[in-house]
Amino acid sequence: MIDRPIGYQATPDPVAIAELDPEQWLHMYEQMSKIRAFEEAANELYTSARMPGLTHLYIGEEAVAVGVCEALRQDDYITSTHRGHGHCLAKGATLDRMFAELLGKAAGYCRGKGGSMHIADQDTGNLGANAIVGGSAGIATGAALSIKMRGSDQVAVCFFGDGALGQGLFYESANMAQLWKLPVIYVCENNQYNEYTHNSETAAGTLTGRAEAFGIHTVSVDGQDVRAVYSVMSELVARARRGEGPAFLLCHTYRFHGHHVGDIDRSYYRSKEEEQWWREGRDPLKLLAGWLQEQGMEAAIFARIDEAVRREVEAAVQFALDAPYPDASEVDRHVYA
C-alpha cells in the first residue's frame, strides 16, 4: 500500500493567506526552487566526484524549511540537521558560500572546516547544522532561554527529523521549555524514515504525544504545502513572541531521494511506487505553482524563476570550484576563541 500523508491539515486560514500578496508566494516559490536546484547540483557534484564526503539531500521537503523560515525574522534562531541545506538557504544563506563549504573551501560559511553537516551562519541566525541526530534540541532550547533572559522577542526554531525523537535529549529539553515557557518551536520533519528504517519500526505511540506529554502546544501540518506550513508557523511564532511558550510542529513530508547521495538502491526499504506517489502528487513546488495558477498567475513565471535560479546555482558552483582550500595554517586555528 502506498503511504499517504497523515495528519493532513485543512487549507490554512484564508484570512491570513489573503494578507500575503502574490509576490510573497512567488518569493517562497523561488526559495523552494533555489533549494531544489542547490540539492540537484550537490548531487551532481557528488556523482561527478567533485565533492568530498557524503551529503543528505532535502529535495521533497522544501516547503517545510521555506514555510517555517518565511515566518521568522532574520534575528530569530534556527538549529539545523544533517539534512540542513534547505534550512540554511531558507534562513537566508547565499548559494556561493554554501557550495564553497560543501567543497571544503576557505570561502565557505565555516571556512571549509564544517562541511555539509555543520554549516552555521550567525548573520542569518543559523546556529548550525548538527550531525548528531537530535543533538540540537538542547541548543535551541538554550537559545530560547537566552532570548527570555535577555528580554528579547526573538524565537528559536529547532528543526529535526522524526528519527530524532528516539533521542532522550528531546524530552529533557521539551520539559524545560514548557516549564519555563521558552520561545522555542520544535519543528519535526517527519519524512517517515530514519535512514533505511521506516519509523513504524522505531516509533511507538504517536509523534505528537511526545510533546503533548509535557503540555506543549502541538500542531500537525501537511509539510508539502508551503502555505499550510507558513500559516501555522506564523501563528506559533506570534504565540511564542507573546510569551506563551513553546510549540511542537509536526510536518508530514517525504525525501524524494536517498538518505544520502550514495543511497541509490532503496528497494529494500521502500518501493519505487511509494516514491513516485510523493514525487508526482505531493511535490511542494508543483503544489504551490498549481495553486498560484489557479489564482490566475501565468504558468511561464515559474519556468522563468527556475531558470534564473539555475543560473545562479551554476555560477555559485563555479565560484566554489574555483575557490581555494584553506591554508594549511588554518588547521589549528579556531580550536579556541
Binding site: 571556512r111 543533538g135 540540537s136 538554550g142 532522550g168 529533557e172 529539553s173 524545560m176
Partner: protein
Amino acid sequence: MSMREPQFSLAVKNPGVREITFAEAVREAIAEEMRRDPRVFVIGEDVAEAGTVFKVLKGMVDEFGPQRIIDSPISEAGIAGIGVGAAMTGMRPIVDIMFGDFITLTMDQMVNQAAKTHYMSGGKLKVPMVLRTTMGATRRSAAQHSQSLHAWLSHVPGLKVVIPSTPYDAKGLMKAAIRDENPVAIFEDKMSYQLKGPVPTTEYVLPIGVADVKRTGEDVTIVATSSMVQVALKAAEILAESGISAEVVDPRSTAPLDKQTLIESAKKTSRAIVVDEGYQSYGVTAEIAAVIADGAFYYLDAPVKRLGAMDVPIPFSPPLEDLTVPTPAALVDLAKSLCGKV
C-alpha cells in the same frame, strides 16, 4: 572567638587577605562575576534554595533570584545542551553538574557540541560556558558518586579543564573560566570544600594554563592536581625529615597544560612523580608523565613515576575505599625509592 586568643589568620597578618574556605571562594567568584556581568547565570539541580547539595551556592538565590540561579529537572544532558545554546546566543551559563560521575550524561553536549562549535563554524560561533562539577573519593559514596573523570574532557580539543586545589586558585580560576570565551570545565574536589586558605579581599583573576609551584624543592618534583596537592605537601613535609627536598607543582589546569613549568621543574630535580585522583590508567598521570619523560629525558635520573587512583570501581566499604586513593604515605614511599633512600 575570645578577643584574647591570638589571631593567626592571614587576614590579620596581611591586610586585604582573609582565610576563607574553598566553598566560600567558589561562591565569591560566581557572585562577583554575576554582579559584574548580567549575562552570567547558574543552572543545575538544587542550586537555588538548597544552594547545591554541597551548599556551595547557599544564599545566592536570595541575591540573584531564581531567574539567574535556576533549579533544573534532573536532566544533565538537557542542561548541558541548554548551556551550549545560551552561550552561543549571548549568555554566560554556568552549568552545575552535582557529581563528576554524572558528566557521563553530558558527554555528547560537551564533546560533540560545546567543544567543536567554534572550530566547526570556522570561528564564528563561540560557547563561553562553564561546566562546574566535582571529583574525589573517600566520602563513602561508592562507585557512582566518587569518580574523578577530568581526563576525559582534557582529551577533547576545544575544551579547557581547570582543577583548582586551594581557595585562592578556586576563586581566581573560576572567575577566569566565567570570563573565558571557550567552554571550560571546572572540577572541584568535594573533600576540599572546607579547606581554608588565604584569599585577597580585592578583585583578582588567575590565568588558565599556568602552573603554580606550591613548594620549592631540589630532589624530586611532585606534580599534583586538585586535592592531591595537599597530599603532596604532606608528603613533602615527611620527606623533608628524611632529607629529601620535594618540589610540589600544581598544573591547576590540565588543558591547557603548562608543560614548560612541569618540565623545568623535573629538569631541575631530575626526578618526577605525578599524582592525581583519577584512575591511573589512561588518566591525567599518563599525559603528564609522558610529557615530562619526553621533555626532561636527558635530565632524568630515574623514570617518571605515577600515582593515580587504583584501577577499580570505587568501593563503598571504608577500609577498601581508603586503599584506592593516593596517600601521603604511598607518595613518601615512592619518592624515597625514587631517590634511592628506601
